[in-house]
């Protein structure tokens, strides 16, 4: 009994996952292969063409989502790494306060935060309206309903998920190891490139996963900040489900997105897997 106790303790968690993850996914997989409509009802026809039709129809949005998600993730990495580094190494006794500040936006709902970005970026809002009033910006300058606004919103909303895992990884780097690098004639840049950065890569890896996946699938930012020309795949899935009640297409799109993300993650893990990068850094 003693040795098995951990397994029994894990059982409720497994049951939870089974009911709320596996069952809905299986149900959705089944729906994605049906044909029909809301009025006549849906029938299971194992129609694989749902997938090819959906992909053909929405490939633009799918590719756009991946590009937006990718660019946003890259920006988050560039913005987030220095913040995580600064908190981990220069935060001193105020580290927990900085981490709290980082999480503070989460006390306001995700949608509300995005809407307030809409206010902020509005053509004649507090920011641009004032600047235009001062003549610092041309009258036709606008950000809202552009790609910049959508990616900016994604970066803003998911940035903490990039910073936190990198911070955790940096926090675990033994300062003596960094000192050892200096002691062995490494410059500041060398010590960072060859020791600190490689040792923080597991955090970077986790941060990229935790931001790229939700950013790519996110419907809120594109809907609130993007206007008509920046629709992402999340918006399509939402519309197909909630507006058009086209459940098979929506399900097929969801699975396509999931498959693309999983394949992307697999390739990412293989090529940028920590071992390969560490090997390069050791040279």
């Amino acid at each position: 009994m003693g040795r098995r106790a951990p397994y029994w303790l894990a059982l409720p968690g497994w049951i939870w996952l089974g009911i709320f993850l596996v069952v809905p996914i299986a149900a959705m997989a089944s729906v994605s292969l049906t044909t029909g409509n809301l009025i006549d009802g849906f029938a299971q026809t194992l129609s694989v063409s749902n997938y090819s039709d959906a992909i053909a129809k929405y490939s633009t949005q799918l590719v756009r989502s991946l590009v937006y998600g990718g660019v946003a993730t890259l920006l988050m990495l560039l913005l987030g790494y220095p913040v995580a580094y600064w908190i981990a190494f220069k935060g001193g006794s105020r580290k927990s306060m900085y981490l709290f500040l980082l999480l503070l936006p989460f006390f306001v709902s995700f949608v509300l935060r995005t809407i307030s970005w809409g206010f902020l970026l509005a053509d004649d809002g507090i920011l641009f309206g004032t600047l235009k009033g001062w003549g610092l910006l041309p009258a036709d300058f606008h950000v809202l309903a552009t790609t910049v606004a959508v990616i900016g919103g994604l970066v803003y909303n998911f940035l903490p998920f990039m910073i936190l895992p990198i911070y955790v990884a940096l926090e675990r780097v033994d300062p003596r190891v960094v000192e050892a690098a200096y002691d062995l004639y490494a410059s500041r840049l060398d010590a960072f490139r060859r020791v600190v950065l490689p040792l923080s890569l597991p955090g970077v890896f986790a941060g990229v996963l935790m931001t790229f996946v939700p950013a790519t699938a996110d419907p809120v930012n594109a809907a609130v900040l993007g206007g008509t020309g920046n629709t992402m795949i999340g918006n399509i899935i939402q519309t197909e489900y909630l507006v058009n009640s086209n459940y098979p297409t929506a399900s097929a799109l969801s699975f396509t997105l999931m498959a693309v993300l999983l394949i992307g993650i697999f390739i990412y893990a293989r090529t940028l897997g920590t071992d390969n990068v560490l090997e390069a850094a050791a040279r």
């Binding site: 033994d174 200096y182 002691d183 062995l184 410059s187 040792l199 040279r283």
Partner: protein, 363 residues
């Protein structure tokens, strides 16, 4: 060594920290010169400033006051990566993401040494520390003793002017530690590099060092060879910190030429070869193994005290006696079990303790 330029020279080095708004002096003014090729130890209890002193030599801390010279050159403001000194860290601080070879080659690569030269020197040093064949291992796949030797090789391969070692054997078990003490001494002889060894373990310092600086409370209490430190401690602190010491306190009774007679109890007299005025109170020390224990009053020009045996402990190579004196002080006596291990006196017996006058001195 008088004419030669010292490998490392500290002149009036002070280190102050700001802790909770208060200035704390970790090092209160240390001046010392370490000769080339010397095995030099900084010995003291934790918090005595030995580690801070070493970190200043390495360049990780900047002295608040004073000058640090390396082979006559002022390096006080030189950052650690530009100092020709390497360090072996207490917890080894090996690069966890690199294998043994890469760890050892790190310094040479930063110095842009040619690959063929790196290959030769890394191979050579791994042979010296007996790690040939383990080049591809990662630090976490190695035992503490092996990691220790990687750390040593990683520093030595650069052929630094001096090697700093921060309690490098602290994490090893006793057997391995004793083995590594001998190894370190051998390696130091082989490479001929100045070693600065920081430790709180007095036996370690005594075993390996050419000279020892005993530190206490941010200052050097005594700087001398191991024998002198042990035989002639310069202060109460040194006497107490190094080995077992009996500290006695008495009044100078008479002065007899160059030696004074110190009275403890009624029949006791201790001969001290130091000039002190009659009537003065002096502290003196005598090592337990210098004392002879007997049941009859000994004859001759000896220091003699009488007491009662409080405790006898058999310790294999020697017997240890705790003898209580009339004034309440207790003296430890070690008696070698050279011929047989039977004890001279039992608990409660009255005994005479005697020793040669040169073995006790006023502090």
């Amino acid at each position: 060594m008088t004419e030669a330029i010292p490998a490392i020279e500290l002149d009036g080095v002070v280190k102050e920290y700001l802790s909770h708004g208060e200035t704390v002096q970790a090092v209160k003014g240390v001046s010392l010169a370490i000769g080339e090729g010397e095995f030099f130890s900084l010995l003291g209890p934790s918090g005595c400033g030995k580690t801070t002193t070493m970190r200043m030599i390495a360049g990780f801390e900047e002295p608040t006051k004073g000058v640090i010279k390396l082979l006559g050159q002022d390096v006080t403001d030189v950052p650690p990566n530009k100092r020709d000194i390497n360090m072996v860290f207490q917890s080894y601080a090996l690069f966890p993401h690199m294998n043994v070879w890469e760890n050892v080659a790190f310094g040479l690569r930063r110095r842009k040494v040619a690959e063929s030269e790196i290959k030769r020197r890394v191979g050579e040093i791994l042979e010296i520390v007996d790690l040939t064949g383990r080049e591809k291992r990662r630090p976490r796949e190695m035992s503490g003793g092996q990691q220790q030797r990687v750390a040593l090789a990683r520093a030595l391969v650069n052929r630094p002017r001096a090697l700093l070692l921060d309690e490098p054997l602290g994490a090893l078990d006793l057997k391995l530690r004793q083995h590594m003490q001998i190894e370190l001494k051998r390696i130091q002889r082989e490479v001929g590099i100045t070693f600065v060894y920081v430790t709180h373990d007095q036996s370690e310092a005594l075993t390996m060092s050419d000279r020892i600086a005993v530190m206490n409370d941010g200052l050097v209490e005594q700087l001398a060879g191991p024998r002198e430190i042990y035989e002639r401690p310069a202060s109460k602190f040194v006497a107490g910190f190094i080995g077992t010491s009996n500290l006695l306190s008495g009044t100078v009774d008479t002065i007899n030429g160059s030696s004074a007679v110190v009275k403890l109890g009624t029949d006791d007299r201790i001969l001290v070869a130091s000039p002190a005025a009659a009537g003065e109170t002096v502290d003196l020390t005598v090592r337990p193994e210098k004392i002879t224990i007997s049941t009859e009053q000994p004859e001759g020009e000896l220091s003699v005290v009488r007491g009662t045996v409080n405790e006898v402990v058999y310790l294999g190579t020697y017997n240890s006696y705790a003898v209580g004196l009339a004034d309440g002080a207790e003296i430890m006596v070690f008696q070698q079990n050279a011929n047989d291990s039977s004890v001279t006196a039992e608990r409660g017996d009255t005994v005479w303790l005697s020793w040669q006058p040169q073995h006790s001195y006023a502090l």
